[in-house]
Symmetry: none
Subunit: 217 residues, 2 copies
Amino acid sequence: MKKILIVEDDASIHSIIEEILKQENYAILNAYSGTEALMLLEKNQVDLILLDLMLPGLNGEEIIKKINHIPIIVISAKIATEDKVNCLLIGANDYITKPFDKNELLARIKVQLRDSKINLELTYKNLKLLTNSHILMVGDHRINLTKTEYAIMKQLLLNINQVVTKTKLLELISLDTDDGNEESLRVHISNLRNKIRQYTNDDYIESVWGVGFKIKE
Amino acid sequence: MKKILIVEDDASIHSIIEEILKQENYAILNAYSGTEALMLLEKNQVDLILLDLMLPGLNGEEIIKKINHIPIIVISAKIATEDKVNCLLIGANDYITKPFDKNELLARIKVQLRDSKINLELTYKNLKLLTNSHILMVGDHRINLTKTEYAIMKQLLLNINQVVTKTKLLELISLDTDDGNEESLRVHISNLRNKIRQYTNDDYIESVWGVGFKIKE
DNA sequence: TTTTTTGTTAAGATTTTGTTAAGATTTATT
DNA sequence: AATAAATCTTAACAAAATCTTAACAAAAAA
């Protein structure tokens, strides 16, 4: 079930949106100010944000800039092209003007959820990487990953079907670098495979000889 | 440089859009019917599609359903919510109504290109080299290439109809070089041909006597 | 025909990867 | 601050994949 954060200070509009989403079985988080929104995002894993622009405290634009990797649909009374363009360019994924049509809102939400990186790419077959807790789910089993293992796994899952070069992975796991340490990387990969193998026979991490690693298709 | 396919039968609207995009330095492909669009997509790597709905031949909705993995922005005179919702749900990524605002169009294009992965595919007839995953597709069959085989294949597919000299290929496969090893290259070519022959009777790699190799026309 | 270049094959050499365990380092706890 | 626990790195070796070599057959040019 997808979780949507509604950021809107007007109580009546807020509850209208909430009602629409509940009918579609989305999980809802409610924020009535910009600062409240950011607080909620720190503690919760959110799949999509519906964002009003005119907010008390932190305004909408500032929130857009602060957020990465979560799709944002702006819902605003501002109909000027200027406002739309600005929001889209600084990071919003879509922009709907009030009053909005219920079905169009729902369709545009689905587009974002369908394409969203978070859901598409940190989940793969039986694997799901929980980004907040550094836990990798294999089916229903939870595996604790170390910091390095998490970094590797995240990079791999963000690039499903694509080779992630050894160089790239070495950048992630060692900041010192120069001739980062391939032996160490090999051990991390081996440990990751071991942890995953505890709960499944599938081999998810594939080596691309001489180049790097990728998640097996 | 990103490549955008414009699918629009009305010549004047078509050229307006084309002009806007050219000013922003996008590469353009033009199609004036649905069937033409699909033809162009077979032969070209496209990053984004701008699609009119009312087209001669195949209509817009049918095209949307046929296309995966390339973002689509519908530009249509149909303003009914019903049409919008339908297009979005069957696979379009955004929907703009005519007359559209130039800047809003450009902003929404940027949104789509921002999120899209660059998937460089080198395609020729039945061959498709997936450069991100280091895989060669022969029809529906996937072939794993070694690092050297991949380097050779990439060079050949980047220069279709042109001879790639032995010298050039030797540079690719051995950094030491000087009198790089032609015998070794011959073996690699032979192995490549073998791998491809597993799945097709066509001989794609042609020898150019005394000079090098090329992809057969 | 003779010479040169290309194609194929198989064996051996080389490179890269996988695994394990011990020692070093970092992080947490008392 | 000292100790314990967790994590990371190093090193050594085994296993696997890839590359090169060499020998010979086939094809093309001279």
